[in-house]
């Protein structure tokens, strides 16, 4: 332990603690831009410089470790002058179209400039005029707003191990780009969008579908249906004035009806459907002795990752489409038939916590209904913007349910949004399939929580089913390398690309705080506990869709509408 003085106050912290973290204990917040909890500090931006007595230069408080007797000052005239100067210099080159920038309410540079009292930029300089990277169907990069903090590069390399963006060129020409400047759409980008979550400014954002959805809603010839992923109800409130941790399922359904959607359903329904197919697939693989472990397939970020980096594991990945796509193919077949609407009239919209879902929806094979199964994908942030634009007082809305046919859901469907949720939901149904009895201890605690890799053994009669759950692609790699080496002891593996699962998706309200993601996950577990049905196979709307339309899990119709294939995409 070292004792040091910060602004005249003593604090004792363990060896190796950074000055910035030591200051936090004294409730001193040292301003920073390139530093972000959860990423390795790199000291690019120099905003966190502090004075240390006896040292001629300002020291980087994010990386500088404390030492015994150190005397630190974080609020001297010199420190304040340096911070202001840095912000001014950043603003000189920053394409600061703040009023029209997506990140207007969440921009860290804007906030810093205000908090540090930057009243005037004393310098003039050239504004960059780089081309936007619009090659990806999910994510747009605007290098003109980039302040070169490197957070996106670190999350892409260190957390996700995808490593498709990096610094190129030298000196004034430095920018963040892709290999050969091919663009995100032409490299191994998984579209996970964690780079959006860590970007302090508006340099990375989703490719918006808001205008297209408004146009569809305004077109009287179109019948617009909407589905919302589990994780939306755990986070949408944050964008609309409600505290984190608020379940907004009811208000969300009401808001969607008020926006003019003709039929408001719920992806939680098709999450239940995914479980019916996936649990049956698992039981089939185990009893027939075919390829194991089975790996989940609901996460499109993980799927594209696998197609680039682990194509040899394609036989292990469940053939089930994701809940978004299962919903999409049923919307233009089952629902069209039930409602007597010609499928070409239907516009199918989804609201997802995810940027990779935009990529998934436009995959060429996702047309099993005979039409584009999902026409437009909105992120949580985009839906919040539409609700604001429509002048809807979200916090004051009454609660409504989604329409029953494809909107009734079980607790198993809702926990899909948290890491471990798909595993837990699948086990609840697989147990019934194998034993004919219901799993008594329905809460499978070992697969919950925020550990990067979670494992459990579940006794299903005489069979010990070994399962593993990984979230964040860096964690997934560890599990996948075992599978590749033939050393995996597991029967069933759940993988989610984003840390925390879908609640931490690239389309969620901006944050890289894992604890907040845990709070959002807890919202879903709490909802699960109070829902009338907690197992997918108990959901009456699921029973109905099999009875009236699909006939049986893994049956001919299911095979055609609910299952898919994968592509070896190779490396770039």
């Amino acid at each position: 332990m070292f004792t040091l003085t910060i602004n005249g106050e003593k604090v004792t912290v363990p060896e190796g603690t950074s000055i910035m973290n030591a200051a936090k204990q004294l409730r001193i917040d040292i301003p920073h831009l390139c530093y972000l909890e959860g990423l390795e500090p790199e000291y690019h931006c120099r905003i966190c410089g502090v004075e240390i007595e006896g040292e001629p230069r300002l020291a980087p408080s994010c990386v500088r470790a404390v030492s015994e007797g150190m005397k630190v000052h974080t609020n001297t005239a010199r420190v304040r002058r340096a911070r202001k100067m840095i912000v001014e210099l950043l603003l000189v080159n920053h394409s600061a179209d703040c009023p029209t920038c997506e990140r207007n309410q969440t921009c860290e540079l804007l906030k810093l400039a205000f908090e540090l009292g930057v009243k005037k930029v004393r310098f003039e300089g050239e504004k960059p005029s780089y081309e936007l990277d619009e090659t990806s169907p999910a994510i747009i990069r605007d290098p003109n707003k980039c302040i070169l903090c490197g957070r996106c590069v670190r999350v892409c390399h260190d957390v996700q191990t995808v490593s498709v963006i990096g610094f190129i060129n030298r000196g004034l020409d430095i920018k963040v780009s892709t290999f050969m400047e091919k663009g995100l759409g032409n490299v191994e980008c998984t579209n996970c969008g964690q780079c959006i979550q860590v970007c302090p400014v508006g340099a990375i954002k989703e490719k918006s579908a808001v205008d297209e959805v408004w146009a569809a809603l305004a077109n009287p010839k179109k019948h617009v249906v909407v589905q919302e992923a589990p994780a939306i109800r755990a986070a949408l409130g944050e964008e609309l004035g409600l505290p984190p941790g608020t379940l907004v399922a009811g208000k969300m359904h009401t808001a969607l009806r008020r926006l003019g959607f003709d039929a408001v359903f719920d992806t939680n329904f098709s999450a239940d459907l995914t479980i019916m197919e996936e649990a049956n697939e698992l039981v089939k693989r185990i009893t027939e002795g075919s390829v194991l472990p089975q790996i989940t397939s609901c996460c499109p970020g993980w799927i594209k990752f696998m197609e680039h980096f682990y194509p040899d594991l394609i036989p292990n990945v469940s053939t089930c489409k994701s809940p978004q796509q299962m919903f999409g193919s049923l919307a233009k077949t089952y629902y069209a038939q039930k409602a007597g609407i010609y499928p070409a009239k239907i516009v199918s919209v989804s609201v997802m916590p995810c940027t990779a879902k935009k990529f998934e929806a436009q995959r060429p094979e996702m047309t099993d209904s005979g039409f584009r199964d999902v026409d437009y994908v909105l992120t949580t942030r985009e839906l919040a913007r539409m609700i604001k634009e429509a002048g809807i007082d979200f916090a004051g809305l009454p609660d409504e349910s989604a329409s029953q046919l494809m909107g009734l859901y079980s607790g198993a469907g809702t926990i899909f949004g948290a890491t471990g949720g798909v595993m837990e939901a699948a086990l609840r149904t697989a147990y019934k399939l194998v034993t004919g009895k219901e799993l008594e201890r329905i809460d499978i605690e070992p697969v919950r929580g925020l550990d990067g890799i979670k494992t459990a053994t579940v006794n299903v009669d005489s069979l010990e089913v070994k399962v593993a759950v990984a979230h964040g692609l860096g964690n997934a790699r560890k599990i996948l390398d075992e599978v590749r080496a033939g050393k995996s002891p597991y029967h069933f593996i759940e993988i989610m690309a984003c840390p925390g699962g879908c609640v931490g998706g690239g389309g969620q309200p901006i944050s890289f705080d894992l604890a907040l993601r845990g709070i959002r996950g807890q919202v879903l577990y709490n909802e699960d506990r109070v829902l009338p049905y907690r197992r997918s196979h108990d959901n009456p709307s699921i029973k109905k869709v099999y009875q009236d339309y699909l006939k049986e899990p893994l049956g001919e119709k299911s095979h055609h509408l609910l299952h898919t294939k994968y592509t070896n995409r190779g490396r770039v």
Binding site: S163, I168, R170, F179, V572
Partner: protein, 155 residues
């Protein structure tokens, strides 16, 4: 044939120095030397062998003036424009050479004989303005001497 050559060179370097991130720069230098540029296949080969992401390799290539991903001419002219050369009229030299070759800085002539590049300091500040053509140094350039050098290379 030249493909095999860079591969052989890379294998030599990695055999000597090990397959690690630290070996990236020597490998790139070797490829540049034998091929005159860094082909995309070479980047993939390095990614696999050194376990360095392609974008990081591209970052290193674009950082160093002596490395390039573009196929280059027989003669690569590197004209310095750092401060001492700039003060001794390197801008004017650039105009002269561009006019003589009919290409702009960063371009290669259609007959693939010449590539013209503007580079940072060559360490020849006492003899500014200076340039390098392949491995040969040309100092204290004047309009006349520059024209003569180009004319001789054109043959």
């Amino acid at each position: 044939m030249s493909t095999a050559l860079w591969k052989t060179k890379v294998d030599e370097v990695t055999k000597q120095r090990g397959k690690a991130r630290e070996t990236l720069l020597p490998c790139l230098e070797a490829i540049q030397e034998v091929s005159g540029y860094i082909p995309q296949e070479a980047v993939s080969y390095l990614r696999e062998n050194l376990d360095v992401p392609s974008v990081d390799i591209y970052g290193v290539i674009t950082f160093y003036g002596m490395l390039t991903t573009k196929e280059q001419g027989k003669y690569v002219i590197r004209l310095c424009n750092s401060l001492p050369c700039y003060l001794n009229n390197s801008e004017n030299m650039l105009e002269v050479i561009e006019r003589e070759l009919g290409i702009k800085a960063g371009e290669t002539s259609p007959d693939k004989n010449f590539t013209l590049e503007v580079v940072p300091c060559l360490g020849l500040c006492d003899k500014a303005p200076a340039m390098m053509i392949n491995d040969k140094i040309y100092e204290n350039l004047t309009e006349e001497s520059a024209k003569k050098i180009i004319a001789e290379l054109k043959g």
